[in-house]
Amino acid sequence: MDFLIQGITIITWQQVVMWGIGGLLIYLAIAKDLEPALLLPMGFGAILVNIPLSGVLNQTLAGIGDVNGIIDWLFQVGIEAAEVLPLLLFIGIGAMIDFGPLLANPKLFLFGAAAQFGIFATIFFASLLGFDFKDAVSIGIIGAADGPTSLLVSQVLKSNYIGTIAVVAYSYMALVPIIQPIAIKLVTTKKERCIKMPYNPKSVSHTTRVLFPIIVSIIAGLVAPASVALVGFLMFGNLIRECGVLRSLSETAQKEFANIITLVLGITISATMRAESMINIQTLMIMGLGLLAFVFDTMAGVLMAKFFNLFLKEKINPMIGGAGISAFPMSARVVQKMGIAEDKHNFLLMHAIGTNVSGQIASVIAGGVILSLVPTLIK
């Protein structure tokens, strides 16, 4: 009857800690509504993969040989093989995004670009802390504030910390309403936060909306060929949305398709959340660096807006620069709330949404640029 207690006898304290972490993720998803579509499957998956001799992982059984586990298989096929799941999710995300507020005020693109600075600053600090360069880059990409991009880049670079990076990226995205106000206040004065911005958007033609995803894909692809998969799939989803003749496909991509991919992606990521690779000091360091990435992103966006104000007659509220990260629409909402908190007649939402969607494009381009540059720098 030894087999009844076999699992209990080989359990490690690290696995028990991972059950706790899995439970915490499930709690945050249910009780705090923090990115529930991802944190809940990841949390439950973390418990499944940390049960001794878990059948969801590949096993070598005595007298039988190798047996495939479903979560290991999903990881190999869905992420390791060609980053299928994160890329397919981009189609759904692209179909969800309305680039209208950005197209109506295209200079907001530059705020999204500036807000990617946190990625590179974090890569620098992670390198200083002694992380292998590919791992440092993968940690820095947490600053994209974009879960699929973080996953894809860390997977392509074969980072040793994919699971940790995924958990930290999604957790901080959920914590944007706490992190960003502090970072924004650190680099703005009350007077700047009170600047009002009238909203007089330019009219955006259907032609512009249709041409936009095609043009972005070509330009990003020419500058950073490795970005074609990332940017191309995001823009493909957006083209489905904007073309006007694929309404049913667009709705499916936004809802059922994105939901199914998200569900499978969450449980698949948990393949990397094994106790032996997560219970270590590096996990704490990655959490600290991830926070740094979000703070630097936000500050860089705000400082870019302040730089613009040196030349503009009609001043920009620099807080909208802080929304240049990919966490949509949380970041835009943060700026709107902060604007109203300073002056109840200060409505910044549409400007912040424009910057926020520019951050979505810029983060994906940043991921592609990094994938193009890193091989040339470490050859």
Binding site: L103, A104, P106, K107, F109, L110, G112, A113, Q116, F117, I119, F120, A121, I123, F124, A126, S127, L128, L129, G130, F131, D132, F133, A136, V137, K202, S203, V204, S205, H206, T207, T208, L211, F212, I215, V216, I219, A220, V223, A224, S358, I361, A362, I365, A366, V369, I370, S372, L373, V374, L377, I378
Partner: protein, 46 residues
């Protein structure tokens, strides 16, 4: 501290941010032209 990797990180920062801004500026210019030269879908009341 690994200064070699840190130096590479600084080079990546320079090249990466430059590339992102180049893409952003080109897109900005093209979108500005598109907005200017493509007719609006909104019909104005006469």
């Amino acid at each position: 501290m690994d200064m070699t990797n840190a130096t590479i990180a600084l080079i990546l920062m320079g090249k990466g941010m430059a590339a992102i801004f180049v893409v952003a500026i080109i897109i900005y210019l093209i979108v500005t032209l598109l907005i200017k030269f493509t007719p609006s879908d909104v019909k104005e009341d006469k």
